[in-house]
Symmetry: C2
Subunit: 588 residues, 2 copies
């Protein structure tokens, strides 16, 4: 195998074009096999193999600096930069992260997993080089899907006037995670169709020197162009047209489905698709389709990740003009939704917890300051074993401390539906719902709560001495803690489903003082700035003890969930043990 | 006066062009007089008078919807939409806000004060119109300075594919608050210089129909073009070239200085500029200039608002290439600073508290996840009587709950300098410093604290029973509370200057349990998600009482500071009274 001879980028420079083509085939096979085993980003990596070889052939990393955008296309780069064992050796498949990680290699400059950052980062790297009087090329590799994010534009706008070497490779595979949306993409299409010659040129309008590579999966062609721009003394864009999923027919033909796959997707003997089960996505979709049919001003908005919510093409097509995918543009999504709501439409905006982070000022200024009755669905919020770049624990501190926002945490299907109805029908406030990130639970009993009466917590079991407030995903943990308290300490604890994240039920909390000594809060998210701290603050002037359970302030990186639960004491036995200690102190 | 005849936009349609020109002069005079009396945005409003008249002449507000970006150019609009008394009658000068405000008029669609939002909002308004099957024009008015913000680009990208009527008027006065920076501005210049004919055209590249008005202060010319685009069935950009400060010579010639002025700036007998006094801005500037001279890799970054930090042209010129104004592009600023730091440069990034909000994900992902040793200076953080759009109370919840961040709150010049030195010299963490938003205090004693030992609070007076933790700006309030406690209750309270916002000094807090019954926290910012709640959580399992003082979760709009202090109990007498009540309960 050619790959046996390639351990560093330097080794590429001994290869002929033919050998590099063979190398690409070998890498492709490894990536397909590994990703099909572990799951991961398939299409983006298959499309960028040739360009990665060409980049490392022409440029001299790590003296030259290559910065990946979102970095879900960095597998070929990892293979070429000393980490091929992570692809050749199944025992080491999980040794390296799926994103660039400076702790793994000097060829990785940043820990990256959110999009649209590479050009800004590259501009900073280039500026530092200039201030320090150093030499070398700075290269940003950004996919077309990432271009729609505001940070990317801010980066391009500033990189254009850097006045020195910066090379931005735009990897245009004509796809975001799903299809692209936006005026910029018409321009990319026009540029592709005119072999880069169109008069309308977004990049040239910003002042970049512009190069086009029609076949971005052709190593010779890429090398030729990259050699031309190497050591440029001014900002350059190299627009390369690649094929997402290149070399794997099923991925080429199903680009969205093969952007990121589950393990075993390619296996012939993979389990047959089971009967569709009801989950929070299906409940959401059904709710939306009903409302959309009843009211033409129902508007569904996503920001580039419809798949996360199960919004497949059937669903999207059914909605037609009532569906907007704004691309990776969460800031716009929030402002757009706010304006829709203020104009009498009924917007429902779905965002992943990790990406709600991309739009704080819009939540505050465009949405909450204007008190626009948008329904914001926050998905996947909770502690997980995810990569540090995709943690979903920050949404409660981020969203719930903004005035006017009503943030709700349902614990079952019926509550979720009642909250959706309330939010959809009201005109008073922005309402966010933290869609449960756990398997669907159904009580079978319609929830007829009037959620317009804000901040009323629900006592689901009335006991004494200890009160457990189990928020959203962690309500069921609360149930288990109650059982364990009974079993171990014989305490008949009160159990509370708060439902509202954004306010305290002061009447109830005061009531608890009568025959409770300890209130514990359980939240599936960050403790700092979160829900529990408000309860602690509320009881600050009283003798009520409060124990808050949730995630510590840290960026855990692929730490197994059970380990995190252990670390944060999010297990019934550990919680009861903490309660016991607290009671003992009280009785000393 | 022509203005006497104009009470609604409709009244304009009875006027000749000559009369409208006269009207513009009358409005100009009113605006100059009022702004010089109350302070406010001068240049932006003087530049947009003619365009506002033309817009309201051609379009039929409020059936046609006009959405202002940042809305610091909405004074002429307010005069024409039923609020001229706010400009003609000095007694009513303060009746209306300086920004668009739906509660004032049906002609104002959104409460707006941060930039770059108008196109996204307009896209939502237009989409709602289409879904509801309604008619009418939707117009966004956005200044060139606002174009650099990512949200604006996201809006343009999506507005371009709306497929129906949306008209974006780009008010190009060749200035942001300070001068513009970025590739886009070279394109605007090229378009101005070619009378809109340049082949390079940012707006056309995104797919917009494009119109250029060379003299954007010429009512006839504006009306002619706006009539052409009225009732368009597709997205249109009208690029108008206006003069910032038009009609007031000193404002035309000093565009940055006259963007926003203090009361009396035009008065002949205004007090002579006094001898420059030392303040936190001057201390910052001196520190930076020293470091910049010592280390060429010192890099100063601002995002469009250098004036807020006193970074005048002398200072900027001294720094030369070591100074970057990225324009209104806070997201880019953070990523750029992070990359500079990771590449061995020494970036110092200054942002206003209210605008730190525009960059959460970058603080989290680009900066803190990568643990880049950036110095972030957060200015003006604290409770104020500001407009609801410019509150500076949210930075502590926003910044301090992000892992790896070290957020510091100095209480005097010497601490500030020591923190700056620490941050500049270390390579471990991103460090944010909340620059005191109060008059400079100097102890005259060098602070030799080693801030690399994180989260060590400083006991400045050791007492008993009550411990007061006074954070940053509110340390001096803590001193006053201590005095009042002594005077009124004879309590010799402990006083603590925590200095660190991002962590608890657990050792000290535990120590306090020995001979204290109540800990109070004072913070000049939002209680929810803030500093005090961490202290409340810490003491949750103990019998220590905790009272947190700070701002409520709300958007107060121009509420006088004293009224807010009263409302939030941020006065020594009120705080001591609260402490007294809490002590009484304890002794019941």
């Amino acid at each position: 195998m050619i790959l046996d001879k390639v351990n560093t980028p330097e080794d590429l420079r001994n290869l002929s074009i033919d050998e590099m083509n063979t190398l690409a085939d070998e890498m492709r096979e490894l990536i397909i096999k590994k990703v099909n085993t572990t799951g991961g980003h398939m299409g983006p990596n298959l499309g960028i193999i040739e360009a990665t070889i060409a980049m490392h052939y022409v440029f001299n990393s790590p003296v030259d600096k290559i910065i990946f955008d979102v970095s879900h296309q960095c597998y070929p780069h990892k293979i070429l930069t000393g980490r091929k064992e992570g692809f050749t050796d199944p025992d080491k498949y999980l040794k390296y992260t799926g994103y660039t990680a400076p702790e793994e290699s000097e060829h990785d400059l940043f820990k990256v997993g959110h999009t649209s950052t590479s050009v800004s980062l590259a501009a900073g790297v280039a500026k530092a080089r200039d201030l320090k009087g150093e030499k070398g090329n700075v290269i940003a590799l950004i996919g077309d899907g990432s271009l729609s994010g505001g940070e990317a534009f801010e980066g391009f706008d500033n990189a254009a006037v850097l006045g020195s070497n910066i090379i931005i490779i735009v990897n245009d595979n004509d796809m975001s995670i799903a299809e692209n949306h936006g005026g910029l993409y018409s321009n990319l299409k026009e540029l592709r169709e005119t072999n880069g010659k169109s008069e309308n040129n977004f990049f040239k309008s910003l002042g970049f020197e512009y190069h086009y590579v029609a076949d971005g999966n052709n190593i010779a062609s890429l090398i030729e162009t990259l050699k031309q721009v190497k050591d440029t003394n001014h900002p350059v864009v190299v627009h390369i047209h690649t094929l997402k999923g290149h070399g794997l027919k099923v991925a080429e033909e199903n680009k969205e489905m093969f952007h990121w796959i589950m393990p075993g997707t390619l296996d012939e003997n993979k389990p047959a698709l089971s009967v569709p089960v009801e989950d929070y996505n299906s409940v959401t979709k059904e709710f939306i389709l009903n409302k959309a049919a009843q009211n033409p001003a129902t508007a569904v908005i996503v920001a580039g990740t419809p798949g996360v919510f199960g919004f497949d093409s059937t669903f999207r097509n059914k909605l037609g003009k009532q569906y907007t995918d704004v691309g990776i543009a969460e800031e716009h999504a929030v402002a757009y939704a706010s304006a829709l709501a203020k104009s009498g439409a009924k917007p429902v905006l779905s965002l992943m917890s990790s990406f709600v982070q991309r739009t704080y000022d819009q939540l505050s200024q465009d949405l909450c300051l204007n008190n626009s009755p948008v329904t914001l669905l926050v998905h996947w919020g909770g502690i997980s074993g995810a990569d540090a770049t995709h943690l979903c624990v920050f949404d409660i501190p981020l969203v719930s401390n903004i005035p006017n926002m009503v943030y709700l945490a349902p614990t079952c299907k019926e509550e979720y539906l009642a909250m959706l109805e309330y939010s959809y029908n009201q005109n008073e406030h922005p309402v966010a719902i933290r869609v449960p990130a756990i398997p669907l639970k159904s009580t079978g009993v319609k929830d007829d709560t009037d959620y317009s009466i804000l901040n009323k917590f629900k006592v689901t079991h009335s006991g004494k001495k200890v009160a457990i407030i189990g928020l959203g995903n962690f309500y069921s943990l609360g149930e288990k803690v109650r059982e364990e308290l009974k079993r171990k300490l014989g305490i008949d604890a009160t159990l509370i489903n708060p439902r509202f994240i954004t306010g305290c039920d002061e009447e109830l909390l005061n009531e608890l003082k009568k025959n409770h000594e300890i209130v514990i809060t359980l939240e599936d998210g960050l403790l700092n700035g979160g829900f529990g701290e408000k309860i602690a603050r509320f009881y600050g002037n009283s003798s009520m003890k409060v124990l808050n359970f949730g995630a510590d302030k840290e960026f855990p990186d692929r730490v197994p969930l059970n380990e995190l639960y252990q670390r944060y004491h999010l297990m019934p036995e550990l919680i009861v043990s903490d309660i016991e200690k607290c009671l003992e102190v009280t009785y000393v």
